[in-house]
Structure formats: structure tokens, C-alpha cells
Assembly symmetry: C2
Homo-oligomer: 547 residues x 2
Amino acid sequence: MGMQRTPLLMSTLMENGARVAPHVEIVTATASGTKVLSYQQVHARAHQLAHALAAAGVKQGDRVGTFLWNDHRHLECYHAICSMGAVLHTINIRLGTADLEYIINHAEDSVIIASADLLPVLEPIASKLGCVRKVIVAVDEGFESWQTSLPEAEDYEDFITPHPGKYDWPIIDENSPLGLCYTSGTTGHPKGVEYEHRSQYLHTFAQCMTDAMSLSGTDCIMGIVPMFHAFGWGIPFAATMLGARQVLPSRYMTPDALCRLMADEQITISAGVPTIWQGVRAIYEANPDTYDFSHLQRVTCGGSAPPPSLIEWFWKTLGVEMIQGWGMTETSPLATLSRYAMKYTDKDLSDTQRFANMAKAGQVMAGIEVEIFNESFEPLPHDGKTVGEILVRGPWICAEYYNNPQPEKFHDGWLVTGDVGMIDESQYLIINDRSKDLVKSGGEWISSVDLENHIVALEGVAQACVVAVAHPKWDERPVALVVPSAAGSVEADAVIAHCAEKFAKWQLPDDVIFVDAVPLTSTGKMDKKVVRADLQAQGYALPDLRT
Amino acid sequence: MGMQRTPLLMSTLMENGARVAPHVEIVTATASGTKVLSYQQVHARAHQLAHALAAAGVKQGDRVGTFLWNDHRHLECYHAICSMGAVLHTINIRLGTADLEYIINHAEDSVIIASADLLPVLEPIASKLGCVRKVIVAVDEGFESWQTSLPEAEDYEDFITPHPGKYDWPIIDENSPLGLCYTSGTTGHPKGVEYEHRSQYLHTFAQCMTDAMSLSGTDCIMGIVPMFHAFGWGIPFAATMLGARQVLPSRYMTPDALCRLMADEQITISAGVPTIWQGVRAIYEANPDTYDFSHLQRVTCGGSAPPPSLIEWFWKTLGVEMIQGWGMTETSPLATLSRYAMKYTDKDLSDTQRFANMAKAGQVMAGIEVEIFNESFEPLPHDGKTVGEILVRGPWICAEYYNNPQPEKFHDGWLVTGDVGMIDESQYLIINDRSKDLVKSGGEWISSVDLENHIVALEGVAQACVVAVAHPKWDERPVALVVPSAAGSVEADAVIAHCAEKFAKWQLPDDVIFVDAVPLTSTGKMDKKVVRADLQAQGYALPDLRT
């Protein structure tokens, strides 16, 4: 044994922030402004929480659910529950009651830590959560009156206050589970991804590399992506390890509230889904002198692909680099990233070429492998033209779902992602679509994402959503839902004409439907499952099939 | 098993560069200029080398010695030998024959890959290296005539040429040994540190973090620190993983040759010991218009502490950040690093305060623990005043020496570093001295490093070396050896008067001795062992003991 066999435990990394940056602030948005705690305070509170949970009977491997916004208490849960060897189950607060009932019982959460204002969401299923022994209620300013029929309800502050601010984190196997995050599929029940200490430790290191998100202890980081969505893309772990200043938006998620917080708190890097950044762009353009984003350097965008026009707008208007990331709950979640500059030869590229690269899903992170395969699982060429199913493997990639193996989602040690795409000669991954969102027309595939990105670049369009509608002759045909921008006006013919500039005739949408909004999933992505179901429920018929 | 159990193997990381940056250059200095290969070429050559070594009987776990400069062939050895599961033993070309004989036999190197011009160094002990079955000779321009009495000598190019450019790296246990590096102690034989795949994988990830060395694929990196010294501080691994442009100085190590290479190749980051950077400063100051360092952003300085005046000079004169690193062969080697900005609160510091921090050994890297202890191994306060023995632990820290356990160098899972120092309230580690280099006078300790740093800041001084000389009354007293700068002149009285501005009377050197140069160790540090021995051999007497 030449080198020490130190297990890779998240407790080691989570202790780092308070050690190096005890007085740096962790800021949570409140009804009247912000609540500011220091790393030292949050650290002590996390240790108190661990003692309180242990006293309440939580043991190593037990699942503890959180039903919380992005706030300092959620961060305390990340620190305490993972470090004490229990399993942090971050429950998606936007799920329907059927899914909530399923996942809480499937995870067998014994304790749930819930925000007071979210208790009504759980109330209809309170009697059906037999595994839940106790609920801890996190109460914010303005939400002091709460009630619940969940058992042994106790105020979070009362729960932790009696306990000491120092807990001795156990030294456990690095392959022990640390977290559980459910991903909502298109069919069947949500599936649980069980993160482990080793996987998240490595993901945290990789995320802090210069060529990944360049996270630094000098940053002021605001994660807008919910902490219940793929562990907030790892930002709570990474930021706490670095001792960076953290700003947490809590429930105050309107574009105006987010923009004010970004400006007032001098955020240097933020992270969210494209709809967040489209909202920021819209409100900034409507009020160009209201927000000072001079400290903002980078925004990370993931969940679904940002339109290239949005990437360019952030760069040209705000001088902000939009870092596109691709991944999913099953990949911890970072798998690829795209930056303004990430190769030595990038210095020779024009801005146009750089934007083209930034619009791709990105370069695979060191340590991870991404490959495209045909239906016989033979690897396909990296020529930027051949489209295949994307598979991923590596030390922070899911090996099986929690108590629900789903072998068809795994192949010979690889995760079958369900996305289809290409890899170009520069090794950029390019996502064509979710395999379920591709439009299959006359034996050929049409990418709904490509059409959306093109349509949204048209003046007067705020958002576009392309879905397949069944057709007796062609199998499926694309239809575009378009949300006009506040100021603009746009005609259906103009949308089609704009698409014809880039796409072949058979790839053009058969119809353009103007809508006020596109339904979103619980993680802020366009919910095409709902769009398709809505069209069907309305008895929608394609133009050439109307009688 | 929630996540994939991918072993952490260096083959994964070493393959990355050629994948993402096949056409980026790897440049080696030659007698007449440079030799330029692409990543793709070096990658193929490394695979050929692995095939050739396997055909020559090298198996997993076998030690292969390298006796090479920093050049592309040495990089190929890093890639091939580690990835194929053999053990890369980087032999220090500056050792004496007794040490060379000892370590080659102790490591039981079966094959040695040696530079043609270095064969004469091995020749006197050729008959004593019974373990060595074969020597591969790397021949550079100007060194075509070589001969050796070592067995089965073969030209490197002839050795690899017949073999295919694709080797299937084995999937092995991540705790398998990957490398061997001997550290020369003050007493006894050199001790071997056996690096493992897991330890170097984690070290590489940590090294590429923004708050570590900020290494990026966009960098042009020149490692001046020899690749036989603590694996070139990990740079060959990190740079190859990232696909950064690499420039290797080979044997052309004069300050002028290094400065020309840095300027011509547009280096963005380099790494070397303080004497290298003092040499660069001296030649730059003597010829201020000769070298264009406009691309240079950072230089990493380790091995021993750079004088604060040197850090400040690089920042103020060249706009270059000198990143101080502390560690040793036993720590892979990075353990702490000091940057111009590494905490959120650093933005509130003045440049003077920042330089003071940069002059400290630095902040411990995430994942590693550094602690100071008293002689009973009780942890000491982090108050910036209390001095203790520095111990380190973590996943890239040595657990025992190779076939030479030395239990007194390890305590309860910690490495006993042999350095003494303090940790301040901001958690900066401050090295006082090697415990063996402290001057013990009248029951109190005097730091030779503190005196040296102060003396070298005096106008007219190029280098200073303070050592202890035995004294019948005080036990030991400090004596300063001073190398005057080329242009300057300085008097002994001025040196003492300058020291008196900062140090107490009893801490002042008893004598100042002017010398042309200070002897250096094989790794470029001042060799105080030799200085002390030389003084003794000359019959040196302290002023108050002269008869």
C-alpha cells in the first residue's frame, strides 16, 4: 500500500467551506429582503441538525426526505444528512400528489423536512404516507401559521436548537448511498437514482475544474435550478466545499425577483434552465436600466438546450458567458459542458464559430465517456452527421435505478440516456432530441429541438415548442406551438417562411399554433407529453386531414 | 449499487488529450530549435511503446526506469508505462552513482529508458545493475554517437517502430501501483514513494481546479520542474488530460534558453523551483527588451519557498501571478497552494495583504488535511503564532515507503512531513523551516528560511543561504552565505543591519560569508547538508570562537 486509503466522503468536502471561509455569507431571499448567515453559523446548524436527526432515530442508510425551496435550511440538510451517513431524498415539490405518494413510499422516507408553505401540497396524501414517522417544518417569515396532519410535526428551529454544534461524522464506505433523486419518466412511475459518496465527491472535483464551470471560492454563486432537481446540479456541494458566497432565491422565483437578487447580491455565476434565462432576457430588455449585472460573468444553462440566439444575446448584451451543460439526474448530472474557450485551438476561432460550439451540448468531462451507438449497440463515427443513441459511462453515472432495475436503460456497463445525437470531429456532442421527441416522418427523423431553436430566433417569437402529431400517411408530422413575445407580433406564414430558409420542405411544420404559454415540467422543461395530450384532447387535426 | 464502479485509472485521463486535441502541439526543445509533434502522434507513439515493452517482457507491476530529460519521449513513457499497468520509475538524473546504484537495484528496474547523453552517468555502475535486462536509448539531435555496456541496448525509435499505434489498456484495480519516485533524505538511503492510479487520478482532478493551478485546455504549459522530480508536479498527467499545448525544455535549461522558449512558444503557465525564477528575473532585468512575456499569466513555484520579493517582482514587473505550492514527493506532490485571489473576501484585501498571503505556503487543497502538532501529537491552535510539526493525510498522501516502511515517518494515518510551521486564522499554512534546517540557539528556534527571505530582498543580493553552525554555549548559531547580484555590491555589515530591522539581536547571523554560488540538490533546492559539510571541511570557526 503506497498511498493512503482515505475514503472519498462528502463530509470531508462539506466541512471545507466553514474552515476556509467562516465569515463568508450564505444569503437566503425572504419576503422582506434577505436573511444572512455565515458559513460558521450554517455549519454549526448542520451539525445540530445531524444530532437532532440521530436523536429522532435516523440511522446510517435511512432516507430523509426534503420538501424545501433553495434556502439555507436545505443546504443544512445537504450537509447534515449526507455527512451523517443517511440518505438525502430531495423531493420535487412540483410533482402531482400521485407521484409524491409513490416516491415517498418507494423511498421509505422516515422523516420529511418540509417548508411550512408546502405542507398543503402533502396534506391530501398525509394518510397514505405510512413510512413517515415525523415531519420537521421549516418556517419562514410570513408563513408562521401552519398545520399538518402528518405525524410528530415539529418546528425546524425547535428541533435543532437543543443540540450541540459539533457532530463527529462517521468514516464509512465511500460507496455508501448519500442521496436519492427521482426522475420523472414519460411512462410508468418515477425512477430513483441513488447517488453515492464517491460519485458525488468525484463530480464535485470535476465541476470545479477550470474547463468545467470554473467554480472558485472567489465566486458569489446563485443556483436557481432547484436543489431537488439532480441535487441542484451539484452546486450546493461544490459551493460549500469552496467556501464561495452563496445566494439562495427560496420561493421568490419571478424574473424580476431573480434579476434584483442577481444585481443586489453581485452574483458572479448562476445556474438555471433555459426558461429562466429567457425570462431574465425578456425583463431585462423591457427595463434595460433597472438591473446592474456588471458582476455577472457566467450563467450555466442546462435541463434542455438553450437556443443559440439566447447564448449570443447574453454574450453580446451582458458580456456574460452562457455555459451550456448536458446531463440528467442519472449522470449526477454533469456529463458535457460547452465554453467560450476550452481548447488551445479555440483562440483561432471567430466569435461566430465559438457561438456555434457553445450551442452544442459540449465536450465530455474528463473521467466520463460519451458514445453514440446504432440500434445494434455498435459505435458510430464522430463525423457530425451520423445520429445515434447516446450512451454514457463513468464513475458518476447511474448503474441501476433504486429498487427498480430497468435493465433496458443499461447496456454492458453503459447508461442508455434516451437522447439521440451526433459527435462531431472536434468531439463536441450535439443533441438532436430526446428519442421520444423526435418526429418520425416518412421514415426520416426530424429534430423538434432544431426547429424550435430556429423559430425562437425569429423577431416576435418568445418561445417555440415542436411536437409530433400522428399522420396516416407519413406516420408523424411536426406542429409548432409559438408564444409571441410581449412587444412583437408574428404571423404563421412568417414562421414557416423562416423555417424554409434552413430546413427542407418535408421538415417544415404542418401547422403553427399561437399559444400564451407552453406547459412546463416540474423541472422547468417544456412538457411535450402534456402538449401532445392536450392536442389530442382538443381533437386537433392536421391541416391536410381536416374535413 | 446505485452508481457505476468505474475504476479510477490514469489510462482514462491520459487518452483524453489526443481525443479532444489531436492536432494540438507537443513541442520539445532541441539543439537547433524545436521538434514539434501532435497529440495524435505522441499518442500513437505511446501505444507503440507499450506494445514494445510488453514484447520485451514487461508485465503489470514491473518497474521500468526512465533516465530522461523533460521531452516528448518522457511523456510517452508516462502515458505508456502507467496505462499498461507497469510502474514508471522516474530516476533522478542528477543523483550520484552510489544513490543511482541503490535505487535502481532497490526498485528492481528490468528495463531502463535513458537519454543517449546521460549514458555516461550510468556507465560506472553498469556492471552493478544486475536487475536491468535491457536499456532503450533515446537519441536526440547531436547525440547520435552513443555507447553503453548496459545489456541489450537498443535505439528508442527502432524499439517502437515495428509496433501498432493502438494498445488496449487493461482495466486493473485502481489501487495498483503506477509510479515510483525516490526522495533523497538527509540520512540513509533514498526512500521510494509508490504512486497509485487512484491517488494520481485524484491529484490530477484537484490540480485542474480553478482554485488550484487553474490549468485549462486553453493553456500552453511548460513544466521546467524535472519530470523525475515528484512526477513533474503532476503536470505531464494534467496537461495531457486537458489536451493543453505542452512545451518541454529538454536539456536546454539555462535562464536564457528558458526565457527564449517561454517567449517564442507563447507560454501561458510554467512551473519550477525558486532558483529557476530567480534566474529568469536576473536575466530579464539584465536584458529587459529581449523577452516578450506578454502571454505568460502564471508561474507555479515550489520545491522550496520563493522569497516574497520575487513574488512581488513577477506581479509588478511582468503582471504574472506566482502561485506558490507546498508539498513533497510523499504528497504527489501538491498539498497547499497560494493564489492572488482564492477566497470571496480576498476582494477586500490590498495588494500588500495579497502578497503577504502569496508568500505563505497556502490553503490546503480540498480533499487533503494538513495539521500542526506538538511533540506528543496533540493538535495545536491555528493562531499564526504556534509552531508545530506539520502532518498531512488524504487520498494522495504516501502511506509508507516502498519496501522500506520507516514507521517514524507516519503517525496514526498521517504523514510526518519533517517540515515545521504554523497555520494562521485564515487557515494559511506557513512553513517555518525543514525541522533539520532550523537553527537551535539558546533553547529557542531561529528560522533559516525567514532570514534568507529577508536578506534576499536587500539590494545587491542575488541569493542567501542560512545554516546552523555548532556553538559550545548556544548550541547552534546562524551563519549566512550570500551570493551578490551581478551588478550589485553589498557589505557584510549592511546585511546584518538589514536583518536587524526585522529580527531580534539573538536571531541575527553571527557571520556573513560571500560566495559565488550556493550548492544545489538534484532537485534545485539549496543543499544545506553540503553547505554545512563544506564549512566543517574548511575548518570554519564562528567569529567569537576564532583564536
